[in-house]
């Protein structure tokens, strides 16, 4: 009986599994196995070429059939000065005069189904974004039969590629090889068809989650760092040469990158994030209180750290690993645990700095220098901030795999917000000893960056449609980060922290859009945030509040006639003697005008400090252009401050937010006395030559 029940149960489960496999994935569920790549690649260091075979098994998770496949062939972005990438970037990184070995390309040499059906003849380059015929970064191949919803297809490829001299975080320099954007990779198929953009100067990521098994062959004695974890390693004889063959595997990721260099150039430093040791207790307690989650529920797993670093920068290894541990702790507490067993960090040599500061799944690149051994560079936070920022992309790009081409702010902006929060906490708590002398404030840096913009950019813009690259960076990084900081101030840090965590957990291993982010925040916070997103992200509104005027007068002495006992009588002589605005005593008529000079509408607080020592705060909805408040009483205003807590971080013209009855005459000297000394030092530079 029991055996029959088990048999029936197994049959039901098998049928359910089969049904699940044959139907499209329900909307909203995380999908982490859309695609499986198996790649074997051999690096020829002398020519900087790759020779590879690749098998892709792809599952159609949409509800419409897929008649074709679309591939990223992004190394072709570096094939000539006419590609879309080169035109958009102005050729600054790879000049037209560069020798031919500096350019890179990829070519598919075999493309077939497992049954041997040759698909190569149907391969065609397309340019969905700009129609540039010289751009061959996207290819389409027609399938003999469409892949039905829930169905799968397997294809086999062979390709060869020449890496460019390092550019846009991929390529070679000397013997150092950073291999990113290097293999034919599928775009993302949805109900609207393929989303597969060309390679642009400002953006490069959007693909589906899946598994990777990549075997890399390099010369003996070379070190390899890669996405995922090392699962196999062997030494092979190839003719006269001895080679090293290493296999890396990764699950639930949407890209794969690796770096290789001889051991004479780099070393691998192993480390670990051990939460019992590395998680700052005050962070845990604060996060627990802020998020309303018991500390025990914020447990973080251990993570293996693997750092590839130039031998001559070995002194920086501890600093890189320390920054990575702090990032693992901060992001883990606030956005959920890092789910992978390992984080790999590649610190390229200084000559290959173009490879630095990049994110790939479970692998980030940073950038150090021997100069960081010397003060004052030693006291600057750039290397730590890069580690934190790039690690942060494991969340905002890695797990929350938004479309960077179309909404770069969802990864760069959200991550810049998280990075600034994390770096502020690190600096505040003095967790990196080298940074203790550093006076900077990450938020001030972001705001000063925004203040210099001639025109406010619209954040929610396709990455290649910004007026300038500067606009792209200012919008996607600074403005988004500062806008979120503003929202944090407006809704309250605790509510905002909870909402960000919920978003990060809800959309983990999915492809959130801007609307999803907004809806998630609105759901968590319980407010309609449309007014804010419409202006800050989808619009280009700029907040700018001001104290327009403050008038404080004695009530006007009565002149003429006054109505008394049913008749007009002349004002008494003693009343006439009261002069207007005379003396420090009351009573007073106080009139305050607060204005909105910018086009951003929203509520703002105003602090009024009275001469009797009391302080009151008023809230203005900020919808109109101005508001006037009038007070009659025995007290006068000492000062007025619009947005006294600086919640409107997005506001960069702050000088007129402040008013004082008695301006502080010594303020300039007290705060800026040192500028005269700077001038004196400047003049002193000529002293030896006079």
């Amino acid at each position: 009986m029991q055996g029959r029940v088990v048999s029936v149960l197994c049959l039901v489960l098998a049928l359910a599994a089969a049904a699940a496999a044959a139907s499209p994935v329900p909307a909203g569920a995380p999908v982490t196995d859309t695609v499986a790549y198996t790649i074997a690649v051999e690096l020829a260091p002398s020519t900087h070429t790759l020779l590879a075979t690749e098998t892709i098994r792809w599952r159609n998770t949409a509800s419409v059939p897929a008649p074709d496949l679309m591939f990223h062939l992004y190394l072709n972005a570096f094939a000539s000065n006419r590609t879309t990438f080169m035109k958009e970037s102005g050729g600054t990184a790879l000049r037209s005069s560069a020798p031919v070995e500096d350019w890179g390309w990829i070519r598919i040499t075999r493309l077939q189904l497992p049954d041997g059906t040759d698909l190569l003849p149907s391969l065609a380059f397309i340019q969905p974004d700009d129609g540039n015929p010289d751009d061959r970064t996207v290819a389409r191949v027609a399938l003999p039969e469409p892949v039905p919803p829930g169905g799968a297809v397997e294809i086999e490829l062979a390709f060869e590629a020449r890496l460019p001299r390092v550019i846009a975080r991929t390529g070679w320099k000397g013997d150092f090889h950073m291999v990113g954007q290097w293999f034919p990779k599928l775009g993302v198929f949805g109900d609207g068809g393929w989303n597969c953009h060309q390679f642009h100067a400002n953006s490069e990521f959007f693909s589906d989650f899946g598994s990777y098994r990549v075997t890399v062959t390099v010369p003996e004695g070379w070190k390899v760092a890669a996405t995922g974890v090392l699962t196999a390693e062997e030494t092979v004889e190839e003719g006269d040469a001895t080679e090293r063959r290493v296999t890396f595997e990764a699950e639930r990721v949407h890209d794969f990158a690796w770096a290789a260099a001889p051991s004479s150039l780099v070393r691998i430093v192993e480390g670990e994030f051990d939460p019992a040791r590395d998680l700052p207790r005050p962070w845990l307690e604060t996060a627990s209180r802020t998020l309303g989650v018991p500390a025990a529920a914020l447990d973080l797993p251990s993570t293996r750290l693997r750092l590839m670093i130039p031998n001559e920068q070995a002194f920086l290894a501890d600093r890189d690993l320390r920054a990575a541990r702090l990032a693992l702790a901060w992001y883990g507490l606030h956005y959920g645990p890092y789910p992978y067993p390992q984080l790999t960090i590649v610190s390229p040599p200084v000559g290959a700095m173009e490879a630095g500061g990049m994110e790939y799944p479970t692998l980030i690149t940073t950038g150090g220098s021997r100069w960081l051994a010397f003060p004052p560079l030693k006291w600057t936070p750039f290397v730590d901030a890069v580690v934190v920022h790039e690690f942060g992309h494991q969340y905002f790009y890695g797990m929350l795999a938004s479309n960077e081409f179309e909404q770069a702010w969802l990864d760069e902006g959200l991550n810049s917000y998280a990075e600034a929060s994390c770096m502020s906490a690190i600096l505040r708590d003095g967790l990196i000893p080298e940074l203790r002398p550093w006076p900077g404030d990450p938020w001030a840096t972001n705001r000063v960056g925004l203040a210099g913009m001639p025109l406010p950019p619209t954040v929610d813009t396709f990455s290649w449609k910004f007026r300038t690259r500067h606009d792209y960076f200012a919008a996607s990084y600074n403005r988004t980060a500062v806008a979120l900081h503003t929202l944090e101030g407006l809704v309250g840090p605790d509510r905002f922290a909870r909402a960000m965590r919920e978003y990060a957990l809800e959309w983990r291993f999915r492809h959130p859009t801007g609307d999803d982010f907004r809806a998630s925040l609105e759901g968590s916070i319980g407010e309609d945030l449309g007014w804010f997103f419409d202006q800050a992200i989808e619009g280009d509104a700029v907040p700018d509040w001001a104290v327009l005027s403050v008038r404080q007068r004695h009530p006007r002495a009565v002149r003429g006639w006054e109505w008394k006992d049913g008749a007009w009588v002349e004002v008494a002589a003693e009343e006439k003697e009261k002069a207007d605005g005379e003396g420090d005593g009351g009573p007073w008529t106080v009139r305050v005008d607060i204005g909105r000079k910018g086009d951003f509408r929203g509520p703002v607080e105003v602090e009024l400090r009275w001469d009797d020592g009391t302080t009151e705060r008023r809230r203005w909805d900020g919808l109109g252009r101005w508001v006037r408040w009038r007070f009659d009483g025995e007290r006068r205003l000492e000062s007025v401050i619009v947005d006294p807590d600086g919640r409107w971080a997005l506001e960069t013209r702050r000088a007129d937010n402040y008013w004082r009855r008695k301006p502080d005459r010594g303020a300039v000297h007290r705060r800026l006395w040192w500028t005269a000394e700077v001038l004196r030092a400047l003049a002193g530079l000529l002293a030896p030559w006079s």
Binding site: V350, A444, V448, W674, L679, R680, A683, A687, S690
Partner: protein, 309 residues
């Protein structure tokens, strides 16, 4: 004293002790030249900073100051140039003045007006010397850094940052040494230009360079004997103001520091007087007899081969 005698800080002290009015001027004129800058900054920022509370919202101070100054670059350029170029012109003037006074009127009590008058008359000649020194410094610095930068970049290209760092550090050290030598040459040149009949600033500077190279230890030692305290006093006064705050005590320390750096500057120039075979400070009244210069008419001091400036 032998011709091309050795410079010594002792002579600087003697000059300094005889130049109390010059000391006040060297201290105060740069302060006055910097005043337009201070007043401009005050005028630009007082209306905004004066309204700030002691603890404005985070980041506001940086935003307000950087924003206001960025919008006022053109307005600030004028007082900055005035302070820098004015400071240079003033230094040329008092350098010329002290050398000429030391050469021809050292026996008499120093009169600031006389010294300034002497400096004014020879200003252009000494300005040329300064320009020669500036050009030489620029050429030498460029000559060091152009190849050093290329070599360092090549090393980075070979992924050899260690060599690159060594090249840059070596270039920096070499630059410092060479600039010290050139500085010494310039100070010696001041005195060389006081020699009777010498009108070429370039020649005087070259002779100064020759002297610096012939007597490197004495020259550099004397230079450093004043330059090191000068920098130490300046840095110390800044540190003191940071500790004391920019109140009355802080500003007093700062001005005391400025006074001491002015003293070091005068002492530094005076220390090189012996290089041109000038007599030691004689008793008052003897100088005119020894140099043959009329006491009260410095503009008539031209000796053989030199016309009055």
């Amino acid at each position: 004293m032998a011709k091309n005698g050795t410079p010594s800080p002792r002579h600087g002290w003697a000059t300094l002790l005889r130049s109390p009015r010059l000391l006040l001027a060297v201290w105060l004129v740069p302060v006055l030249l910097g005043l337009p800058f201070v007043l401009t900054v005050q005028a630009l920022l007082a209306p905004v900073l004066g309204n700030l509370p002691a603890d404005p919202a985070p980041g506001d101070l940086q935003l307000i100051v950087s924003g206001t100054l960025a919008r006022s670059v053109a307005v600030l350029a004028v007082p900055v140039l005035l302070a820098v170029l004015g400071g240079w012109a003033w230094r040329v003037l008092w350098h010329a003045g002290i050398v000429r006074w030391r050469a021809w009127a050292a026996g008499r009590p120093q009169r600031l007006g006389e010294l300034v008058g002497l400096g004014l008359m020879a200003w252009w000649r000494y300005a040329r010397l300064s320009l020669v020194a500036l050009v030489a410094a620029a050429l030498v610095t460029g000559g060091i850094w152009a190849p050093a930068t290329r070599l360092a970049r090549d090393a980075v290209g070979r992924l050899d940052e260690t060599t690159s760092v060594r090249i840059v550090l070596a270039a920096a050290a070499l630059t410092a040494i060479v600039l010290l030598i050139l500085w010494t040459a310039t100070v010696r040149g001041l005195w060389e230009l006081a020699r009777p009949g010498r009108r070429s600033a370039a020649l005087a500077w070259l002779r100064g360079l020759g002297g610096a190279l012939r007597h490197p230890l004495a020259s550099l030692g004397t230079l450093l004997a004043w330059a090191v305290p000068l920098l130490a006093v300046w840095a110390g006064s800044l540190a003191a103001v940071r500790a004391l705050g920019p109140g009355i005590a802080g500003m007093a320390v700062l001005q005391l520091g400025a006074l001491l750096t002015a003293a070091c500057s005068i002492g530094l120039v005076g220390s090189f007087a012996p290089v041109t075979d000038l007599p030691p400070f004689p008793a008052p009244g003897q100088a005119a007899r020894r140099t043959g210069a009329p006491v009260n008419k410095p503009q008539a001091v031209a000796t053989a081969g030199e016309t009055a400036p």
